[in-house]
Structures are given as structure tokens and as C-alpha cells.
Symmetry: D2
């Protein structure tokens, strides 16, 4: 990640603020406010603003007149209760806003989370930065055989080199031709004074999907957790997980009690179907049961056995 | 509006906070933060929290690295431009949270605005306050004859007295019987130690719709303006307009530039249909046109003539 | 539930339609289309329209050109897979619309589900029907002692009689006074020709919360299941569960494959926290563990033991 | 647009359905149901399903028991009234679902309309079609000078040729390299049996933004009109307008009365600010006013003069 001098100054300028407020603050989150936390090769995440903290959840769940907090212990109990029983509205009472720089193909996954507010850098209006994502060789995974939308082993040696070469060359060439069509360099300088440039809204179609874009993205705490639950999961594509992992850390800084409940009940938890429950009940009673008798598919059976570490029953 | 001593202390406690933050603040809004601003006879509105200010709109519209503000004049120009051209997303980047006490029949109108977060005081869980809305005699309007969902002249004299008497007696009696069924007074004391109380989730059904409830209500700036545009309008029911008017003032304190643009382009503006436009164009050219030739209904014609103060053409 | 002759004819008229369409149809749902299915003492639910069936889920999950269906067996497998892994968007591709008559205090719970479309009968515009919910004696539950928002034993004998009397008298009296204030009977006839009536938007505030209202309510299949998961659950208030149970039956008629997956993975399933999972894992290995060592609260421990029928460990 | 034989058969198969239903139908829309209507060079729009018609709007606005329709004339009056006064909820009672094939850079604009349901073809799971958008020479516009996000004159001659050549070559080369990295051709055949293929979720990042994708997109009538109002407008990018224009036609077939009201009050109408209204009022009274006195910016002044065809005052 490389910021221009002007950008670095802008950020420092923001960080130098010392405003007095009657609102609640989240001191650990304040420490990293506005900081550009690197993600992938050229991306970043910055926390720009937030509203509320753990006590706000408690306050609105109780519809109380004063501060949310009575005592840390009761607050924690209430937040755990709300999380366990899927009470959603109190968690919507906190809000956070990020500034994110990310490759377009990841932005396209991200935007599917609709309950959020977004302002994206407009390529109809401006020229995109000359930056594109190139995976680290350690992340150059082959297509998974078992899972049609997953990754298998890492590709190595000559083939890895070749893939990286193709990605790099194609991104550079298409960007160069983007400039040619615009008749303008990425720094704004005109290429040929005697030519018109193609409309930016058209020229952008020549860019590859690993080109970086950026946006302001704002959501409430409930929907942030919904996002993280899906995108920090090991089934998520590695490139979005990198962002989700950084956001997990901002979650912890912002609302530490909620973070703990989230890890226990959502991230670390599991769901068991009616059929799955019946199977575990039998096993707990010492009864025997196997895949054939279970009514589950093989895949579902294995998922269940793995969740409860009954490794000798995995088939 | 009457607050208990404990509530007053809770509010003072909140207002005494002096937290330091790197976030932007809205100094005029900070002045009234947490304050219970009276509405109707027993209701109130309190601003509990907010996120962002005018500069945040500019910042996200530009997807900039630093503060939103360049200069007040350019900011103002951009905000007016965004408002005029119905750019919605930058206005979603600010958020505000209110604590509101209001009669149930007004809460039922309010909740129809779905793009908001709500936690309401639970009458399944707690006993509602013994407070109900009784209109001031000046607001005791008769049913409008012209408009099936509007108000006409004020009802006066004996009939007014009678109406207020009925409203008061019915609310008090149904509340008393609510307590009887609960076997509990509103202060929590048990009435008859030898009896069980009816479940609160059932007993509440005996209350009248002018009973007060309360909630935390949070929304973004765009949806706040959508709410105010409808609910501060003279077509809105008086009782919700009282709340909207107070919120209008908080809008002005929070985002003064946006407030001005909102007043000019939304509140004070008008919409003209394709047919209406053609009529105004003719009149501007000095041509004659009347209701019959216009293709408009009488009602629509009059709305148009009123909007442009062509009073001699109202039929 | 009592319908007027005109209403019965209107419904018959709708049911007599035999339109030809190229759209998919759900034959079992067609059988009950428009039918007023009774709920509580004066309420009902009617299915008014729907869009899509099980095959539409499959079709959009595959983004296919033709019909969704390949074979019932593969379709069923895919729908189960989608449900198990919380894929949400394909279930949003089906839509259903209900006409519901229900008491206002239940309508206030219902409306909290925001991802739905609603048109409610307007009491600003029209006079509400003279109908209010009175619980059957078997449902006259006392307040639960264990659970602050639940029901305990049924209230019986004299006290039950008294409660029903209070509910009935208060509803009738407040309705009579509503008519007096309106200067109009529920059938539209004027009471006193020499008097004005109070504006309907004001007079309605005198009604009790068990008065019936009605609305058109439309939602997609995903959000219908979210609604049913919460409202057909035994923790839900009995009065809304009555409606949810009827809707469960319409779900089964509409999308039988999805219904089965919903029952297995959502309704009959359970969630286990990270801590809970560790406890079950120990028990499966034959290790001992008790409440004290578990890190769970007593309530949480018991919920876990109940879910897996480890009855001897409930404390 | 080119469909495979299998796709053509799938579509024919759908169109051959003659199902009987008690639901309302929209005969003019049924005529084009499932038809692939061409858009741009390789895209299309297909109407897959719909729910409701004009009468459904009327029915739910009245919360009536029977069909919506009383008489075409009253229905039309009510729909116009609802549209003029921005009543939104009755228009949400109709729903439509499209299958759309479109270039990715257009999909990225489209997806910003959040109140819709979407299932997109997954490039993590499948290989994208070898199809990319190349503008017709008549649409090869230069960047506008006046408007930073608009188009100016068409680029012609040698430069046009060059631009098209660049777009074509880059799209083809990046697609070829996409296949190389996947070690698989677009038809699914393996290129080199001794090599692994790069994960599809990674390889896709090499594609250019004019590559075609496809999705199922479902929305309600209100949000469809919001979409069309913005995207069929002359300020919208030409490439999305092509789709919006086709959808306009489907709107007309589906709900002809609503379509007329939409054209009159939204598409053909205009908004006038408070300041603009004051200016028109002066002009109607024959008073003089110019830009300097108006309090408007030059741009705003000209927009107003154009809207009312006061051409001699444009500055």
C-alpha cells in the first residue's frame, strides 16, 4: 500500500483532532481512527467514524433514560442473552463507517450485502488509480476438485510464474490502453493535444477486474456481524477474508463485550438440524447409528461428525 | 411532560460527559444532546447520539482521504447540487438516534417508515406508564368535509367539553382495569396478594390508543429527511407534526447546510407534472388556457394554480 | 369470524377466476386462494397472490434459461443445500401476499418485520369495524413468574370471568364513545344531524388495543420464513402464533420441498455455541462435565441439556 | 445476441405452458413472457415472472375484500392520485422478475439499487461466457467538456477504429489468458491434462469489465419505477438506458394505467425549488427578473428556464 504525501497529510490532519463531545466514545477504536490498515498488495481499510459502544446496546434494549451501563457484569449478561436469542434490533443501534480500497472483483462480492450505505469512487467522473491486485505466490491456489467454488493446492514453479506474468501483463496493458483511449495519463496529463479522449464511462470497460477501486461503506453493528460471519469464515474467498479479518479487530476494539458473545455464539458455534440433533441424542445415550440409518447425505453426515469431533465416524 | 427525579438525574449524568474524540462533532447539536424536549402533553424527543456532519456528506461524495471540508462555499455548492439532483447515498453517511415518548396511535404512523432502527418499550415485559394523550381544546378538530382524511373546523363549547370528558374517562377507566387485571399498580405494587395477575402481554390489550409508549429510533440523514418531508407537511396529522417540527430544529443544528438545501429543494419546492408544465409554459407565453382544455382534474388544476399563486384562475 | 354478504360475494367472485398463464403455478395453494381462513375470534388470513414455486428457487440459484426443475430429487438436494448453508437470495425469488384481519396489539408486533410491504386499513379515512379480540377462557394466562415476558398458568373461575367482563365492557364502551365522538355509527349513519363529528384521525385514539384492523401484507419467501421461525415458535405470544400456524400451512402448500428443509434445518434444529459444542464433545467422549466447569450460565446449561435430551443433567 | 440451441428450446418449453390460475394476469405481458429481448451486442432482458396488475394497486390501497377493479375510470383516478401524492406502498404490491444478460461495468451501476433481489451467475463456480461488449461506432462518445461525468461528440475516423481495435484485442487476449490460467476452454474442455487449473475465483480477475454476466433480478413496482426514472433518463449512461428502455415497454404491457401516471408525474414532470417557484411566479405576473437577482446559480437558472421553455432567458 502506498499513499501519496497529500493523502498521508490528510490522514494526519484528521488524527490530530481533539474534539469534546457528550457522546459515548470507544477509546480503543479511537486509537486507530483514520489509520490506513494495509490489506492485500495495494488495498487498505480505514475506520472513519462510529456511533455508540457496548453500553448503547444495553441502553436501547432497556429503553432507558440514562447511560446504558449499570455494571459491566449485568451488561455482559444482557448482551450474551440478546445474542443467544437472536434479538437483532439492539445491535442495530451502533453504526460504523469505513473507507476501503479493494479490487473490483472483491467489491462485487462485498456489495451483495445490501443493508449498508455506500459511496464508491466514480470511474464515470474520475480516472482510476493505476493499481491492480496480484496474488502472492502462496495464495495462487488451484481449483478445488471436491468443491466447485473452492480452492485446492497451491500452484507452484513454472506455472505459478506464468500465471503471475499473465495477470501482470494483462493488467498493465489494459491500463495503458485505458490511458490511450482517454488520451490522458493517470496523473491527469494529456497525451496528444490534437485528440479527444474517449468518455471515461466508456474507457473504464477496458480495465481488468483486479483493478483497485475504493468506497465509503457504512453499516450498523448487526449487519457488520452478518458480514463478518460470512466473510471471515474459512469458506469465504481468501481475498475478502483479508479485509474481514482486519474488521474483526476493529469490532473487538469498538464493542469488546459484543465481540466475545459474537465469537462464542456465532463464529465458534454450529447449527444442528432436527435430524442431526436426533443423531447426537442417540450417540449421547450410547446407541449406535451410521450414515445409512441417519437420513443424512454423506456430506451432511460428515459435517456433523466434524462439528462434534466424532472423527472415527467420518466416512 | 413530567420526568421522575431519577430520570432527571440520569439525563444530567449523561450531559455532564466531556469525552475527547477524533470524530467530527456538531457543536450546536451537542448543546441539546440528551435534553428531553417536550412534545404534546406528556411526550418528548431526546437526541441520544449522532454520527457525522455536513462535511461527512462532502467527504463521502468525493471519496476523499481527509476531512470533507475544503471550504464552506464549495461544500455548500456540492450539497445543493446533490440535493437538487436527488443524489441519495452521500446523505446516508450521517446517522442520528432519538429517544421518543409518543402516543401509540402516532407510533403506528411513525413505524411505517421502515428504513430505521427501533427498540420499543415492551408491554409484554413491563407495565406502561399511566399517561395518555388528551388534545388541547384548540386542536379538537371536526372531520373535514372536503378531505376524507383531514380536519375541519375546531369543535367548541359543550361538545368539546364532552369529547374531552369521554377521552379522559375512557383512558383512565381502561388503565385502572389494566391494573386490576395485572393485579398490580403502575408503580409495581401488588393489589391483592391472594390473586395472580393476568399476563402483561394480554392485559395491555385493554389500553386505549392514546396511551404513551416510548422508543429508541435511529435513522440516517436521507431517511430522516424523507420522514420530515412527509410528517412536517401540513397534510400530516397535527400530532405527528409536533414531533416533526422539533426534529426539524435538530436537523438545523446538526447539518445547517443540508438543512438549507432541504428547505429550498424539498420542503418549499413543488413538483409539476408533464401536463402541468405545458400549462405553465402557455401562461408564460401569454396564451390563454382553462381547466377544460388542460386535461387536468379540477383538484389538480387548483393545486397547480395555488403552487404558482395564479389566484384568479382557481375554480 | 363473520363476513358480510357483500364480502362473501366478492371472495366468491375472485375464486371463480380461471385465467390462463405461462407462469408457474402452485396447485395446492390455488385451492385455498382468497379463502378467509379464521384466526382468533374475528380475524382471518387470506392468500391473495403469489409468485413462483420450489422450481423458481432452483432456477435462480442456477441462473438458468429454462424452468428451474430438472428432477425432483436434484431440486430437493439443492434446496436442502441452500437452506443448510444459509444461502438467502434464491429464496427471495418467490413472493406471497396476504390479506389479514388482526387485533391492533398483534399488528404492532407483526409490523416490526420491516422487509415486507404493507397497506393497512386507514382509521384516518374510515371507521373501524366494531370488532375486538376477547381471549377464549383457555388462553387467559397469568403472568409467568420465571419469564418476565411469558405466560404462566391459566386463570380460572371468578377471576377469569371478571377479566373477560372488564375486557368486553371496556372495548364496548370505548367503541360506543368512539361513535359518539364521530357523531356516526359504524354503519355510516349520522347520530345527531345538528352536530359535527370529531375528526376520525382523533376519535380513533379512544379505541382499545384489541380492536381489529386489517391489512395487505406481502413479503418474499426468505422473509416469510424469518417471520414464521420467530412467530410460530413457542416463545411467541399465543395470539400471533395462531396466525403463524395458518401461514405455515400455506407455506407447505406453496413450496413443499422448501417447507421440509425449513422444518429440518430451522424450526426443528438448534444452535450450539462454541462453549456448548465443547461440552457435547466431552460428553460424547464419555468425559464428565458439570455446570460449574462449563463456563455457561445455569439457564444456558439447561437449554443445552434440553436440546440434546440429557435430562439427568438438568439442574 | 446469440442463444444456444438448448437455450432456445428451454425458452420455448417455458412459453408453451398453459397453466390455469385464479390469480390476476396481465395479458399483454404474458405475450412476451420468457422472450429474450436483445440489448446491446450480446445482452438481453427476459421477463420471467410477475405478480399483480393495475387492479392490485387499487385493491390494496382500498384494503378491499374483492378484486381491485370497480371501474377503469375510478381506478385510473385513484392511481393518478396515489402517484401525484407520492403514496408509495400500494405500488409495492406488484412484483416482477427479470433475467438479464449485461456487461459487468453496467451490472455494477445496476446493483446500486438495493431494494431488489438478485442471483448472479457465479464466476467462482462456473466459467463465464466468451462475450464482451463492444460499442457501436455511433456510440463511441468523447468525454464531455461541460459535464465531468457525461459524453460529448462522437469520436470518428481513425481514432474510432483504433479504440474499437484496442477494446476488442484486450478483451480477447485477457479472455484467452483466463482460459490458459484455468487450463480449460470456455466449453469446458481441458487444455493440458498434465496441469492444474487456477481456481476460478482467482482467474476471473483477469477479465475486463465489458465481459458479460447475467442475473435474475426481482423488484416491486415502486422500486422498478425508481430504477427507470433514473436509468431511462437522458443523464444515465447510454448502455444502461438501453436496458431501461426495454423495461419501460414491459412496464407499459404490465400496468398500463400506472405507466401513464408515471410518464405524466415522474418522467415528464419537473421539480421546482422554493426559489425557482418564486421566479416563475414573478414571470407569470409579468415582472422582470434576471439571474443576478434570482439567488440561483447559473446552472440552476438555466435548468429552470429550459424546463419551462423560457428560451430567451437562458444565459
Amino acid at each position: 500500500m502506498k499513499l501519496t504525501k497529500e493523502q498521508i497529510n490528510d490522514i494526519k490532519d484528521q488524527q490530530s483532532q481533539e474534539n469534546v463531545t457528550k457522546r459515548v466514545t470507544a477509546p480503543e477504536l479511537e486509537k486507530v481512527l483514520y489509520e490506513a490498515m494495509p490489506a492485500l498488495d495495494h488495498g487498505f481499510i480505514r475506520v472513519i467514524d462510529y456511533m455508540g459502544d457496548d453500553s448503547s446496546i444495553v441502553q436501547s434494549a432497556r429503553v432507558s433514560y440514562g447511560k446504558g451501563t449499570k455494571q459491566v457484569s449485568t451488561d455482559s449478561g444482557l448482551i450474551k442473552y440478546l445474542m443467544r436469542h437472536w434479538h437483532s434490533t439492539p445491535f442495530e443501534m451502533c453504526e460504523i463507517k469505513y473507507h476501503v480500497k479493494l479490487p473490483i472483483f472483491i467489491a462485487r462480492q462485498w456489495i451483495r450485502h445490501r443493508t449498508a450505505n455506500v459511496n464508491e469512487y466514480s470511474a464515470r467522473y474520475s480516472i482510476l488509480d493505476k493499481e491492480f491486485y496480484l496474488p502472492d505466490v502462496r495464495n495462487l491456489a488451484a481449483q478445488s476438485i471436491a468443491n466447485r467454488q473452492g480452492r485446492g493446492d497451491v500452484i507452484e514453479g513454472e506455472q505459478a510464474k506464468e500465471v503471475l506474468e499473465l495477470l501482470k501483463n494483462d493488467a498493465e496493458r489494459t491500463y495503458d490502453n485505458y490511458e490511450t483511449m482517454l488520451n490522458q495519463k493517470f496523473d491527469g496529463s494529456t497525451i496528444d493535444e490534437n485528440k479527444k479522449g474517449l468518455a471515461r464511462e466508456l474507457a473504464r470497460m477496458n480495465l481488468t477486474l483486479n483493478t483497485y477501486t475504493q468506497w465509503y461503506w457504512k453499516t450498523d453493528l448487526l449487519n457488520l456481524m452478518n458480514f463478518l460471519r460470512l466473510r471471515a469464515d474459512h469458506h469465504a474467498q481468501y481475498e475478502i477474508r483479508v479485509y474481514a479479518d482486519i474488521m474483526m479487530d476493529t469490532l473487538k476494539r469498538w464493542v469488546p463485550i459484543t465481540y466475545d458473545a459474537f465469537m462464542d455464539y456465532r463464529v465458534g458455534g454450529t447449527e444442528v438440524s432436527a435430524k442431526g440433533k436426533a443423531i447426537i441424542q442417540k450417540l449421547l445415550k450410547g446407541e449406535e447409528i451410521n450414515l445409512e440409518q441417519s437420513g443424512l447425505s454423506k456430506r451432511e453426515w460428515n459435517e456433523l461428525m466434524e462439528a462434534f469431533k466424532i472423527t472415527d465416524k467420518i466416512v
